[in-house]
């Protein structure tokens, strides 16, 4: 079952107030650069239970949903 994994994020704050995530820092030290934000809108994660701004991101050619549930960021993670 997927779990709600809170992650460290490096983000850019735009002048208009938008927040654009740039990198996800995994707990084992790996750094995932976000190649592109494909979509951003309020959304829910029914899989792990959460609600916030959902960023659909392309990371290493995979689509990943990154959620900003103020004040924390989380992803739907497979690992424990």
């Amino acid at each position: 079952m997927a779990i709600k994994k809170f992650v460290q994020v490096i983000a850019k704050f735009e002048e208009d107030g938008r927040i654009i995530p740039l990198q996800v820092l995994w707990e084992d030290g790996r750094v995932f650069s976000i190649d592109r934000v494909l979509d951003m809108r309020p959304g829910v994660s029914l899989k792990v239970g959460g609600q916030g701004i959902r960023y659909t991101c392309r990371i290493q050619n995979k689509e990943v949903c990154l959620y900003y549930e103020e004040p924390k960021w989380f992803v739907e993670s497979k690992e424990r």
Partner: protein, 417 residues
């Protein structure tokens, strides 16, 4: 132009938010309940599965568990519900600036002016329903009509996740055939009285002579008759986000509490009344008002309750005067024939604190002014260091003294008028 009013009601609000945040419990009967140890052990909300099992809002947790043995009871998380309520309101605001919340989970919207941009009432309702489901993961029931009463009726008519449109063509079929208790502001007492006169359905009420209703129910009779006929023309009040309340014009300020243990004597009662008054008076001062009337609410452990109110000699916002009035009111009206479970203090007849006050020869106005200064100082200290930084001596040394009604205060649905 005919108005288009929507009433949106979030289905099983608390329970569904809990289910959203706890995927593992989603497929079980779930209820949100208070803490039985603090004696708040009642059902606040339940999901569809629990509803089917017969669990009712407001009943004790043990009663609910008897009906539904596998019931999962979650503790309430008001901060989360407030957040969802705010997010839902933001979605409503996309379609209208006239949004009037009715408690945390309900709201009226007047979308008359935006129908040219966003489409008919039903279309807007569909858009809202979809947005709430996608962005918040919960569902709503929406009623669409030309007045607030029928819109509310529509949102109750079919749930969950449904849209009911009540038009001038179909309201007789939909609304009038329903029993009288489904109409807003027909509670159990009014219902009983109406049934005595052979009025069982909303249609029958609508066709009763308004004169007769006024004779029986006073001015409420006319109001109910208008409600039943779809003649209600009350506007949807715009909501000011920066104002901490559901209503722009304050009518009363009150706090009540179900105490962790039964109150057995006047000492206990005084403690609680002081504590409640502290919060009420502070909120009164924050709003810049004086009150003219103080009311108390008492409920004993048999769950019988009553309210009493009294006029103050002068408009006041002094904690001491309000508390003393509340205590005097209590002493006059209760004899401790049974222990007390819940107490409330409320102030009404609010006037701006710039209102001139008639002085009298024997009153000590200098003392009142010093009291006011003291209250201001206390307020200031509490603002800076927390509500429990300064306390009345009566509240010290009791297990109940840590209660903070001001901080724990949550806004609940207000009356329609």
């Amino acid at each position: 132009m005919e108005r288009i009013i929507l009433h949106s009601d979030i289905n099983s609000f608390y329970a569904n938010v809990e289910c959203l945040y706890h995927p593992e419990i989603r497929d079980f009967p779930v209820a949100v309940g208070g803490n039985p140890e603090k004696r708040h052990g009642i059902i606040l909300a339940k999901n569809q599965k629990a509803k089917v099992a017969g669990v009712k809002t407001g009943e004790a947790l043990w009663q609910a568990r008897e009906k539904c043995p596998g019931l999962l009871v979650m503790p309430p998380n008001y901060q989360l519900y407030l957040r969802f309520s705010r997010l839902a309101r933001k979605i409503y605001n996309r379609y209208s600036d006239q949004v009037e919340p009715f408690g945390l989970d309900e709201a009226w919207l007047d979308v008359t002016a935006s129908s040219r941009i966003h489409g008919s009432g039903r279309t807007i309702a569909e858009k809202i329903s979809q947005a709430i489901q996608e962005e918040l993961g919960i569902t709503v029931s929406i009623g669409v009509s030309w007045n607030k009463i029928f819109a509310k009726f529509g949102s109750d008519y079919r749930k969950p996740d449904a849209i009911t449109v009540i038009t001038r063509d179909n309201f007789k079929k939909i609304v009038w055939s329903q029993e009288i208790g489904d109409l807003l502001y027909v509670g159990s007492a009014t219902k009983k009285k109406l049934m005595k006169y052979g009025i069982y359905t909303i249609g029958q009420l609508a066709q009763t002579s308004p004169d007769f209703l006024v004779l029986q129910f006073g001015k409420m009779g006319m109001v109910l008759w208008r409600f039943a006929n779809g003649l209600d023309d009350s506007p949807v009040k715009a909501f000011d986000e920066h104002y901490n309340g559901n209503e722009r014009i304050l009518k009363s300020i009150g706090n009540s509490i179900t105490t962790p243990r039964d109150l057995k004597d006047l000492k206990d009662v005084k403690l609680i009344l002081y504590m409640l008054t502290e919060s009420v008076a502070m909120r009164l001062r924050e709003t810049g008002c004086y009150c003219l009337t103080v009311a108390i609410h008492v409920r004993n452990k048999e769950l019988h309750s009553f309210t009493r109110q009294t006029k103050l000699a002068k408009p006041s916002d002094l904690t001491r005067e309000i508390a003393e009035a509340a205590i005097a009111l209590f002493e006059k009206n209760y004899d401790f024939s049974s222990d007390i479970r819940s107490l409330g203090v409320r102030v009404t007849d609010l006037v701006p604190d710039s209102t001139p006050i008639q002085l009298d020869v024997f009153g000590n106005e200098a003392l009142r002014m010093r009291q006011a200064q003291l209250d201001d100082t206390v307020d200031d200290l509490r603002k800076r260091f927390g509500n429990l930084v300064l306390r009345r001596a009566v509240t010290i040394g009791d297990s109940m003294s840590g209660l903070d009604p001001k901080k724990d205060h949550v806004i609940h649905p207000i009356g329609y008028f």
